[in-house]
């Protein structure tokens, strides 16, 4: 696509990976990626069967786990040089994360779940003029405005996933990471969910990294990557 992707291509990449290695147990690497780069504003479909290191790669990008070797640069900041506290703050400020399911804190209302990043991070808070208004606007665009004061336990899975997207998008972070967000949805809901996701990610101007094993979704994205081909640990491990 599109002009915006091309025009941003020259700017700092959203994600840049060089010789990234990670192992939970010494000697048994699950991630070994020589090079990988996402342009700012790009929508990327990352495809891989379970065991290909998807979730580990996402945890590395989110800065929750630390690489054993190599470089992982987000928005020009090398995460490997940051302390774990600084990585947490960086994640809060610049990254939105959507899980496969169970995205919401059960004892908070929908509204509070959406504004949660603004409550935990001052810099994320500073990205919106008013978290309540931002939550309202996102909820309207994601067609969940009527649910804002509901208990999250009263929501359907599809509604929960939209709340999760609203939370990931509040304050328009530069990078949105989705870990199989549609796997619990039926086909109709999945399509509607993706439409809303794309529209809102485009609105926010964020880079979208979308992981799924469902290749039928790949057509909507700027770029499709197969993790098995990128990750030498996965191919060599023969999982």
């Amino acid at each position: 696509m599109s002009d915006s992707a091309v025009s941003r291509a020259g700017s700092t990449p959203a994600v840049a990976i060089r010789d990234l290695r990670f192992a939970y147990v010494a000697g048994r690497e699950v991630i070994d990626i020589p090079t990988l780069e996402f342009a700012a504003g790009e929508t990327v479909f990352l495809h891989g069967p379970s065991g290909s290191g998807k979730t580990t790669l996402l945890s590395l990008i989110a800065g929750v786990v630390t690489p054993r070797a190599g470089h992982l640069t987000l928005l020009g900041t090398d995460l490997t040089t940051l302390s774990s506290g600084a990585r947490d703050r960086f994640r809060a400020a610049h990254l939105g994360y959507v899980f496969q399911m169970f995205n919401l804190i059960p004892y908070l209302s929908v509204r509070e779940n959406i504004t949660l990043p603004c409550r935990l991070s001052a810099s994320r808070r500073s990205r919106v003029t008013d978290p309540e208004a931002a939550a309202q606007a996102l909820a309207e665009r994601l067609e969940i405005a009527g649910l804002l004061d509901s208990r999250v336990t009263a929501l359907s899975v599809g509604q929960q996933q939209r709340v999760a997207v609203a939370r990931a998008l509040i304050g328009a972070p530069e990078l949105i990471v989705c870990d199989e967000p549609t796997s619990a949805l039926d086909a109709d809901r999945r399509d509607r969910f993706l439409e809303l996701l794309f529209a809102n990610v485009a609105e926010a101007g964020s880079t979208l990294l979308f992981v799924s094993h469902d290749l039928s979704l790949a057509g909507r994205f700027d770029r499709t990557l197969a993790l098995r081909e990128l990750n030498r640990a996965a191919t060599m491990g023969g999982i």
């Binding site: 979730t55 580990t56 996402l58 945890s59 989110a62 929750v64 786990v65 774990s84 506290g85 947490d88 703050r89 994640r91 809060a92 400020a93 994360y97 899980f99 169970f102 995205n103 919401l104 804190i105 059960p106 004892y107 908070l108 949660l116 990043p117 409550r119 935990l120 991070s121 994320r124 939370r167 870990d179």
Partner: protein
């Protein structure tokens, strides 16, 4: 502040477990604080058994024995004090007033005491004096004033005829005609041994003994020397003109050679006695402390048990930017909130319990429970409880921290 509200709502989300945990902490705190209150109430009413009296003087003997036989109506007296000696000390320049105390025979298990009107005007307990529910003090040698419990137990009312003699003689017709007493007054309940005693005049007591002897009864009580006028007494209470002279007077009495006496300071003797019998309170405290430890362990267990189901919640918090420190703070706050609310609830339970039960407890046990603000001991207890409880929260918090590091963003469910 946001974390605190998060902790609070997380606890509320697990209302049943949190409620039960809070209750177990509250109960153990209530036990600890309640025991402290009861202990103090018991000690105060014990220490208040006799007030305002500077010295208790009896025949030479042990401090505790003098105290027990005069104030508590227990144990046997150390001996007797001759009337002449009593008169001599009463005239001592340092002495303001005296109350003679002559122990007679028991009447149906209750002690009969011969004394003077001074007793009803001078004697103090818990800063109160002896007052009458009905009637007044005995005036003649045929009148008797009775304690509240005596009246209640034996069913005596004002004007009842009472035969004050011991055991077998009491049923004898001869005794009855010899010297019956009339109840002249019923003393208000004091919650001291006064309630269990009968008070007659010194003459009354003498007349009672003479009647017994005259009727051929057994020779009981202190031997009555024929040579002197008034009979000897068992002990006497002394109020001094100046408190500073008390120690001096005590030494004089203890060192006097004409008749060997033991003079004791009631407050000191009571404190010594309490030391002996009060050691049971240590046991109570130990039990209460163990209960508290059990309560805290229960809280720790409840928090640990909740961790498994909360790995997802913790992963979400991590994903939106919470660091491990935030997760630890959240869990420690939860235990802090639980233990603080538990402590407050426990204290409220104690005060509520005192308000509800104080009159019943006072009527039943004579222990005046007072609603006083928490004292330093209790504040220290509560402080230790809150700190210990919060620190106990560190264990599950540490575990949650380790979990969140291992889980990353994908808790194994």
């Amino acid at each position: 502040m946001f974390l605190l509200s998060l902790a609070w709502r997380s606890l509320r989300n697990r209302a049943v477990i949190s409620g039960l945990t809070l209750l177990s902490i509250a109960l153990s705190v209530a036990l600890l604080v309640g025991i402290e209150h009861i202990r103090r109430g018991v000690r105060e009413s014990f220490a208040g058994t006799i007030k305002g009296t500077d010295l208790i003087v009896g025949a030479r003997g042990g401090t505790t024995q003098v105290l027990l036989s005069t104030v508590f109506g227990m144990s046997t007296p150390t001996g007797s004090v001759s009337w002449a000696t009593y008169e001599r000390w009463r005239a001592h320049p340092a002495v303001r007033w005296t109350i003679p105390y002559a122990l007679g025979d028991a009447h149906k298990g209750q002690r009969v005491i011969g004394t003077t009107a001074e007793f009803f005007t001078r004697y103090r307990f818990r800063d109160r004096s002896v007052t009458f529910a009905e009637g007044g003090p005995p005036d003649t040698d045929r009148e008797v004033a009775i304690g509240a419990e005596v009246a209640e137990r034996l069913g005596y009312t004002l004007g009842s005829e009472v035969v004050l003699a011991h055991g077998v003689a009491a049923v004898s017709f001869a005794e009855h005609t010899a010297h019956p007493f009339i109840v002249s007054g019923i003393i208000d309940r004091t919650f001291t041994p006064i309630d269990r005693a009968l008070y007659v005049t010194l003459d009354g007591l003498t007349a009672m003994h003479e009647a017994e002897e005259g009727a051929g009864g057994l020779m009981m009580g202190p031997p009555t020397p024929q040579t002197e006028g008034p009979a000897p007494i068992t002990a006497f209470l002394v109020g001094t003109k100046n408190r500073f002279e008390t120690l001096q007077l005590q030494r004089e009495m203890n060192e006097d050679r004409s008749e060997p006496l033991t003079a004791i300071i009631p407050g000191v003797a009571l404190a010594q006695l309490w030391q002996t019998i009060g050691s049971a309170e240590v046991g109570l405290r130990v039990v209460a402390t163990l209960t508290l430890i059990v309560g805290l362990i229960g809280m720790c267990v409840a928090l640990f048990a909740s961790l498994e189901s909360r790995r997802r919640e913790i992963a979400i918090l991590r994903a939106v930017g919470a660091g491990p420190r935030t997760i630890v703070s959240l869990l420690v706050l939860e235990s802090g909130v639980l233990v603080t609310l538990g402590a407050i609830t426990g204290v409220v339970m104690v005060y509520g319990g005192i308000v509800l039960a104080r009159s019943a407890v006072e009527a039943r046990f004579g222990v005046a429970l007072t609603l006083h603000p928490l004292r330093s001991t209790e504040w220290i207890y509560l402080g230790v409880i809150v700190v210990a409880g919060t620190l106990v929260g560190l264990l599950p918090a540490w575990r949650a921290y380790r979990n969140s590091l291992a889980d990353g963003l994908s808790p194994s469910l």
